[in-house]
Amino acid sequence: MTWIDGVDEVERRRERAKELGGEERVRRQHDAGRLTIRERLDALLDKDSFVEIGGLAGEGGDENFIPAGYVGGLGRIDGRDVAVGGEDFTVRGGSERDGRTKVHMLVAMATEYRVPLVLLHDGAGGNIENTIRRGYMQIPTWLNAAGEVGLTATVPVVAGVMGSVAGGPASRSMLSHWSIMPKDTADFFIAGPPVVKRAIGLDVTKKELGGSHVHVHTSGAIDNEGVDEFDCFRQIREFLSFMPRNVWELPPYSQPTDRPDRKEEGLLSIIPKNRRQPYNMRDLIRLVVDDGHFFELRPHYGKCLITAFARLDGHVVGVIANNPMSQGGALDGPGADKQVRFMELCDQFHIPIVYFVDVPGFMVGPDAENSAALRRGMRAFWMTYSITVPLLQVIVRRCYGVGSATTSRTDRLNLRIAWPSAEFGGIPIEGGVDAAFRRVIQEADDPDAKRVEIEETITRLRSPFLTAEALGVEDVFDPRETRPMLIRLLEAAQESRRSKLGPKARPGVRP
């Protein structure tokens, strides 16, 4: 007498659950160029590491069992545990039933075990059928909302927008530190085309409304784009490789394969002598960081600014850099938003920041005014003054205006290292002279000559060496020394970072 009959039943139900919504629906999912949730988990996680929990959930009883529209559990990425799951679109389009669901279990798991949460979304959330089943209307609530908001204060939360994602799952994917969607096979919106048609009478396709060109390239709602689902999984794994499991740990150190004392000749000539000529800031970053490798977050949004994770002598650093190829690096609304999101992320997980500065100031003109570039820019300034992780500044060229004050802070250790190509000022000389000396110039016998005379006087003051003499910048040095110098400074900060671990005073990272 054993319980083998019960065990057989468990096995039978598990096998049924693995069939998802049935052959026909799985075929349709594949025809749409999409993987099923089980294929996604296989592709994302370390081989055979997935331990499903709640796999017997569903409905229909012994005879007509249909699995729940969600698969979740515990898995490993690069040997480290993650709570992971996602909607199964082949079962009722991945719609949720009422009450406590698997996603709440995963949130609790990530909270208690202090491990990252990775959600692979594919569904539209609530289903109107639920109302009929329930028999009454419900005030929209978010079960354990405080838990989900608070989760971003303690463990990394990653959202993959893998299929057609709207409503609840779309909203939930905003409560993450980082999100990604594949280029052609996913859509993301508040509500899909039928709702849009009824609400505002507009005919619009899913792609037009919520393709990656909208949300990765224009709105910035989703951070990164993958060429396909597999590329998304590769990027999720890479993102997590820079993250600690939680805020009580330092980010993962990996044995460096690059020399800490590497000095690149290329850094001596990367800044053009012609002040009006831009250059490739990404090449500059590559010359400094370990193995010339960095992982860029939001590469298609707020292009005036580059935000990336890299390593310096094996330690994770957040890299922020102005991009002179995009509006001369002037900080606009999207760029400022990007800085805020990235700084908050780095601060939350105790990742020091290196800021490569070449900024002429905030962006100007009608577009900048209409998009509140100054409010958004000052939010970046506010964030710079809120973070407590080490912040190192390398001024490679221009550092002008209040826009440049978002790159360092004066109320604590403020190590600003300038290259000989650096120039600073409250306002650029060109234009600034016209504004300040208008009357003097206008009243001169030869206004143009007068303007040139004043500009030349001020240009002589532009030398970074005069500023360094006054300790107006902490140091000026050989660009080739950048890598060893940054590594040395971060090494000194290492022990203090260890003693400052834990959550920040803020309630997580804002969506």
Partner: protein
Amino acid sequence: MAVIEVRSETAGSIWRVYVAAGDTVAADHVLMILESMKMEIPISAPTAGRVTEILVSEGDPVSGNQIVALLEST
């Protein structure tokens, strides 16, 4: 053959135009230079093709995302 719209990524003024309608260009070929925030920023061909129309002249102010040239991809 697809018509490709070449857009100015940001506001500024056109400083130099290097190509004319009818020219054949390779991908990443610099079509014109935009002056923005005192920086000379190249506007390049997103793909190889033939220039069918140049919609701006040197000195013209342009806004962000304005179409500055049309290409016919090859």
